[in-house]
């Protein structure tokens, strides 16, 4: 496979994406924007999708939004399916019976953080040659906004509602990249829609690395339906998540962690929480303790990343 170089400007990308219009995802859908950026970054790839919004919204028979080979099997097995495809292509292309091409496993946070984590870990440990991209919208949106291991502390979901008893989810977001990095794979990174060039170049870098072993991307993809904000705010929300330090942008390459977007003066978390109905209850005085916990978690996570960055090649 030919190496994909980083892009400098939008004109470096193909004019049209192989993720086609006409799909049934919501207006302002973060994962849909992510899907489009993925196909722009890597015009030729096999996509292995988990069960989730992107799957059901793009492939309602007899229609498909994908002009690349695409498959959905189960909720939890896109990593082993992708690994199987990559292994078969390796063998078949050597015999001239197939064309070798990048294999991208695409999964939501439910599939990645929770349901498929064991299968993903297996594929990472075996150093299978594929790219895993998690589009994280911080809950099971497709099934009706149930909490996942990716939902942030205090978020109101249908299984962690905010009310008289609890102010939303009581636990912090799982450290996905921490788990992934513990497999010591060639490349792992976070990205989000607002920093679109960073995201595209990371996808391209991940594809290059996938010749050697697995590469992993964790992409924050806001969901207007589940986070309950106006559809035109998706990119702004994606930006605010970064600027509040709630979603740090970093990569781990060759064992070295590097923060790619350094937030020196974090924006107030309150501004981010108050424009989303899943979190605005955290600003009520009775929920001050949860808000404080969320702030401390964001700060602790950021400090930890800075320490890991300074520590050298620790992964």
């Amino acid at each position: 496979m030919s190496k994909l170089n980083p892009i400098a400007k939008i004109a470096d990308l193909p004019e049209d994406s192989k993720f086609r219009p006409g799909h049934r995802l919501c207006a302002g859908c973060g994962p849909a924007i992510a899907a489009k950026l993925i196909t722009l970054a890597v015009p030729e790839a096999i996509i292995v999708n988990t069960t989730g919004c992107v799957e059901v919204g793009t492939t309602i028979y007899p229609y498909s939004a994908w002009k690349v080979p695409w498959v959905h099997v189960l909720f939890q097995n896109n990593a082993p399916v992708a690994a199987g495809i990559a292994a078969a292509l390796e063998k078949l292309s050597a015999e001239g019976r197939a064309k070798k091409m990048p294999v991208i496993a695409l999964g939501g946070d439910g599939a990645t953080f929770d349901i498929g984590l064991g299968a993903i870990s297996g594929a990472l440990e075996r150093l299978d040659r594929f790219v895993y991209i998690c589009y994280d919208n911080e809950a099971y949106m497709n099934t009706g906004i149930q909490r996942s291991g990716a939902s942030i502390l205090g978020s109101a979901t249908t299984t962690s509602p905010s009310g008289k008893v609890i102010p939303g989810k009581q636990e912090n977001k799982k450290d996905l990249i921490g788990i992934v990095a513990a497999h010591h794979i060639p490349y792992a990174a976070t990205a989000t829609l607002w920093l679109w060039r960073d995201m595209i170049n990371k996808i391209r870098k991940a594809v290059n690395y996938s010749e050697q072993g697995p590469a992993f991307l964790h992409i924050l993809a806001p969901c207007q339906f589940g986070w309950r904000y106006e559809p035109n705010l998706t990119i702004k929300i994606s930006r605010m998540a970064v600027e509040t330090r709630l979603f740090p942008i970093y990569e781990i390459e060759d064992g070295q962690l590097k923060i790619n977007f350094r937030v020196t003066k974090p924006a107030p978390i309150e501004d981010y929480l108050k424009i989303q109905r899943r979190t605005r209850h955290l600003l009520e005085p009775k929920n001050a303790e949860t808000l404080q916990r969320l702030k401390e978690w964001a700060e602790w996570s950021w400090q930890r990343l800075e320490n890991l960055e300074k520590a050298g090649k620790v992964f």
């Binding site: 498959v71 099997v73 078969a88």
Partner: protein, 327 residues
């Protein structure tokens, strides 16, 4: 992993047993729904709880409706032969369904046994390279594993049923083709001393040999008994089963599985629904035996035969009978 490799166009094989099979319940349906010609070996074993590891057929019958072609080998030779034939059947463009070849866990899977292997050249000539089935191809990008709703799901499933029906003819053809190169002939229902039999013992797996020994002894004592082994379970060989089973007076079904809440096991139900109500002169009785690897001897099969015959003649056949259990 094999689902992915099969989608990429490779010929794939996997093996499992017991909990491993139960754990892949979803994947079984996905493999047949995606029409992938995967071949899988199953060392048939009991299911937890309590955990056991030894042979019975609970796992095998558990995948009955998953849309796989299902064979059961009595011993190593049959298992080997059926595995090779399974590829030729599964990959036929009229079929494109996964196939499982089951054989008894431990009793066959962990026993040392001689068998005749074909030469690599013969196998390559028999199977060729895989050229059919779904393929992820950049030059012809297609979408697999779609969301099919109320307006289309039923049609997908109906086609799967059709493919299974098509496999009957393909199986017969492949059995013949394999006989030409191996000299070993196969048929969906394996018969022993059934020609003049009044009573038939129906068994599956490694017990078939034990049942043959028992039938031989019983024949010497003047009992008109035969043995039928269900080698091809899905597609159920309905025509062959109707012709065969309708001519017995008594059918004693021995099952290494249990269907709690039902008055019979799966093989009994299959045979009964094949011959009733057309041939209501045939009486049947069902025995559950050997769960969790409990051994069955020749004497055990003889006991089941005598007891079964007595129960049928006294018309006490409306419940499952358990053989070899402490109660």
């Amino acid at each position: 992993m094999v689902i992915g490799a099969s989608l990429a166009g490779a010929r794939t094989f996997t093996a499992t047993a017991s909990q491993g099979l139960a754990y892949m319940w979803e994947a079984l349906y996905a493999a047949s729904g995606l029409r992938l010609p995967i071949v899988m070996a199953l060392a048939a074993r009991a299911l937890s709880a309590p955990i056991n590891i030894h042979n019975d057929h609970s796992d095998f019958f558990g995948m009955r409706d998953a849309g796989w072609i299902m064979f059961n080998g009595e011993e190593a030779q049959e298992t080997y032969d059926l595995t090779l034939m399974a590829y030729e059947i599964a990959e036929d463009p009229r079929v494109l369904l996964p196939a499982v070849v089951s054989y008894d866990g431990f009793i066959v899977s962990h026993a040392i046994s001689d068998f005749y292997a074909l030469s690599d050249e013969d196998v390559i000539a028999f199977l060729g390279k895989r050229s059919t089935g779904p393929k992820l191809d950049p030059d012809n990008p297609r979408t697999f594993g779609v969301l099919a709703l109320q307006d289309s799901y039923f049609e997908f499933r109906r086609q799967q049923y059709e493919a299974m029906e098509n496999s009957r003819e393909v199986i017969a053809k492949v059995f013949r083709k394999y006989e030409e190169i191996s000299g070993r002939s196969y048929e969906p229902l394996k018969k022993y001393m059934v020609e003049d039999a009044e009573t038939c013992l129906v068994v599956m797996g490694s017990t078939v040999g034990t049942a043959r020994s028992a039938a031989k002894i019983l024949r010497e004592q003047g009992e008109k008994v035969g043995v039928v082994d269900i080698l091809q379970y899905r597609p159920w060989p309905a025509k062959e089963a109707e012709q065969l089973f309708s001519r017995f007076k008594r059918i004693i079904v021995m099952e290494k599985t249990m269907s709690p809440g039902m008055m019979a096991g799966p093989m009994y139900e299959d045979i009964a629904s094949t011959i009733y109500p057309k041939y209501n002169g045939v009486k049947m009785v069902d025995f559950t035996y050997g769960l969790g690897g409990r051994d069955i001897s020749t004497k055990g099969v003889i006991d089941i035969y005598r007891l079964g015959k007595e129960l049928i003649d006294k018309d006490k056949t409306d419940v499952v009978h358990f053989y070899g259990v402490r109660e």
